[in-house]
Symmetry: C2
């Protein structure tokens, strides 16, 4: 596309918004490029702060930009907004506080900081008459936070569900599409730059958990802390699980879910875990490192937001959109603090379950499992066994009618003591929609 100026005058009226950028990694480079090439009529990027400026400095940005290794210089500068792309709760949190205290607005992509300190920072911004925006902290370029906060303000949302981690989605959708092993799919993701050298934060659900905290606050007006959210790793999923899931007309994804439950007082159910999801849902058709967020409201029904959840250029779009919002002075200053309240958080749910057993085959195994399930009042829905596997390492699947996850855990522990297992059973909830 040809470069062009979509606005007739700077978004802020007569004057460009002066911006300081802290963090010149993948996202930072894209933000700088966008501000200086696409939207130079609206923004004046004056400072870039990073370690090892000597190696980082590029020649394709305007010469007047001040490159520095000192955050102090950015905090002392005459800028209207600081873009924080350092990541991590500290020291980024202190720098954001100091920026706000010195009368600057802040735009950040820092999910962990906002998950942990969002209400405090928003309140600080409000007190100082400034703004803190974090559209890039969830879903990369997908405008889900503004959609929840402004576009669905006229409804009462009670459920948020989605695919919030592109690395996990890449691995699972590759296993589904090509039949490669978990390890091979992870290696592919690492080769493509979608997964870190240490992928634990993605696989265990810690990355998605921070995003779910933010979505819960903005969409459900509920306060929840990361450590209150149940997390289960996707690393137990094997290719055969996709074959069995297909027989159930499902696939498997890492699903982040927060839902208000009103029975017995208001509680919030929240989890990040692998789940079977029906092929009839849009969520089942999210491939590669894409993200999807589903919001469910009393009036509006299901609303879906999907797109590129990571990557330099998409995430930079969210950052620059937030800068436009600050320049235009739109959006209310303190929505997210005004509408929070604490709730009891639970990881317990009642859902159908998929359980894969891997056993040394012999007569009586299904009977033994069924006896324990029956003792706990859990009904078997189906028993699936695909042919072609050795007796020494035979996988089969039992699907169970809805039961409590707590009961399920104790049942699985009891079943786990039986002597025919080659590896521990893999238990995955089945989301009905």
């Amino acid at each position: 596309m040809q470069p062009r100026n979509p606005f007739q005058e700077p978004a802020g009226g007569g004057r460009k918004l002066r911006v300081g950028l802290a963090g010149f990694g993948t996202v930072g480079r894209s933000v700088a490029k966008s501000l200086c090439n696409n939207f130079a009529d609206h923004f004046d990027l004056t400072h870039i702060c990073n370690r090892n400026i000597g190696q980082k400095k590029v020649d394709w940005l305007p010469a007047h930009i001040r490159w520095t290794e000192s955050i102090e210089e950015v905090l002392a500068a005459d800028v209207d907004a600081v873009v924080e792309l350092i990541g991590g709760v500290q020291p980024a949190g202190d720098w954001v506080r100091r920026a706000l205290q010195s009368g600057k607005s802040v735009v950040t992509a820092n999910k962990h900081l906002i998950a942990e300190c969002g209400p405090e920072l928003t309140e600080l911004a409000r007190k100082r008459g400034r703004r803190i925006e974090f559209g890039a902290a969830v879903g990369g370029g997908i405008p889900v936070l503004i959609g929840l906060q402004e576009g669905l303000a006229g409804d009462r949302l009670y459920k948020i569900a989605g695919i919030l981690n592109g690395t996990c989605n890449y691995i699972l959708s590759r296993m589904e599409a090509t039949g490669v092993s978990f390890d091979a799919a992870l290696q592919e993701a690492q080769n493509l730059g979608f997964a870190e050298a240490d992928p634990g934060e993605d696989l265990e659900g810690l990355d998605a958990r921070s995003k779910l905290v933010i979505l819960t606050r903005v969409g459900l007006h509920c306060q929840v802390r990361s450590e209150q959210i149940l997390c289960r790793s996707i690393s137990s999923i094997e290719v055969i699980d996709f074959a069995y899931a297909r027989e159930l007309n499902c696939t498997i994804r890492q699903i982040s879910l927060a839902q208000k439950v009103t029975s017995g007082g208001l509680r919030l159910f929240a989890s990040v875990q692998p789940a079977l999801i029906p092929m009839s849902s849009l969520t089942a058709h999210v491939h590669g490192n894409q993200n999807l967020i589903l919001a469910v409201g009393e009036s509006v029904g299901e609303t879906v937001f999907s797109g590129c959840g990571a990557g330099g250029d998409p995430t930079a779009v969210a950052v620059v959109s937030d800068l436009f919002s600050i320049a235009r002075n739109t959006r209310p200053i303190c929505v997210s603090t005004a509408i929070e309240f604490p709730v009891e958080v639970t990881g317990e749910f009642t859902l159908p379950h998929y359980v894969r057993f891997t056993v040394r085959d012999r007569p009586g195994i299904v009977a033994a499992v069924a006896t324990i399930l029956s003792k706990h009042g859990i009904n078997i829905d189906a028993v699936l066994q695909k042919p072609g596997y050795p007796h020494s390492r035979l996988p089969f699947v039992i699907t169970l009618e809805p039961c409590s996850s707590t009961v399920m855990s104790s049942v699985l522990e009891e079943i786990g003591h039986l002597d025919f297992h080659v590896q521990p059973p893999v238990c995955i909830p089945i989301l009905l929609r």
Copy 2:
């Protein structure tokens, strides 16, 4: 869910926003219910205007509301905002103008009015220091306009595509899923209230066209008039087309598409027509009367918005969200006028095509068709013929490599003169993604 108050104080600060409602049909009833039951702390619904108030008046709304058959009374009332749910360009347009001129903000779900007069009305609102919001005019409850305008402000979008008419999507997805005929699916849609007694505006694409005009203005910053947009009816689609589409790993939907084309000067391609779309796209998995809008930007890639595109409650969410925005005084006043410019609009496209012929069978038909295609330089991609049809009325399909839609039209006219046709060929473009 239990009713609750999600905000600690009225959205507008100390005072409730006073609202007059013009139009008490399906959406109007939902808006009134929401304002009075869910958000009574924020809004004061003071007037409801409709014809035949005697029959319309309900007892579940507060007694202080003034019911009237006179729009003059609403326009003269001390309200902050008028909600216009009358529909149609006139007289609704004059009433909206008079509301703005008298210093009231306006929220409307009127797609035809905004498609035709949006820039003029926005400019009028700006001059009067008021707002006109129309989130409900496109995609019902889906917050796509705010998503494009605010959430993707930091990118340059060049393409908008999607399913904008729930009636057509209901008919086509029912034909796909159950194999019922077009007429039977239409009848079902009418029975369910998804289609009007006269469904022409939906089937021919005129409803979607108005929505596409608005999306093009807000998302692509391009001005286009409804009558410049190519429309083709979905009524030529038969069940067999879904069978052939499936062989091509596609399905069929009414697709609205606007795309900037920069080769040879900036032009806008815009159309509303049935199209084959790949099963690998999210769009192919939109069922029933749901809507989906895809926006494509230079940096952000593809972003998807999906949900309930019609219905009283979902559309009311968009109306009430716009009222919240007015109460909070967020969003810029005049974005949509500030960023428009006229472009040349074209309905010509170069795409692969699917052509279904229905013929009295005899030797040489494919050769005759192929000869004409070859003469115009159009390459055949595949010939598909399913067994089991009578020679007297034999359907077969030819898919063609990308060619100009203009060339395609003249070729089809030439082929149409051959004497073996039982009915005119049905030609549908194949969207590659």
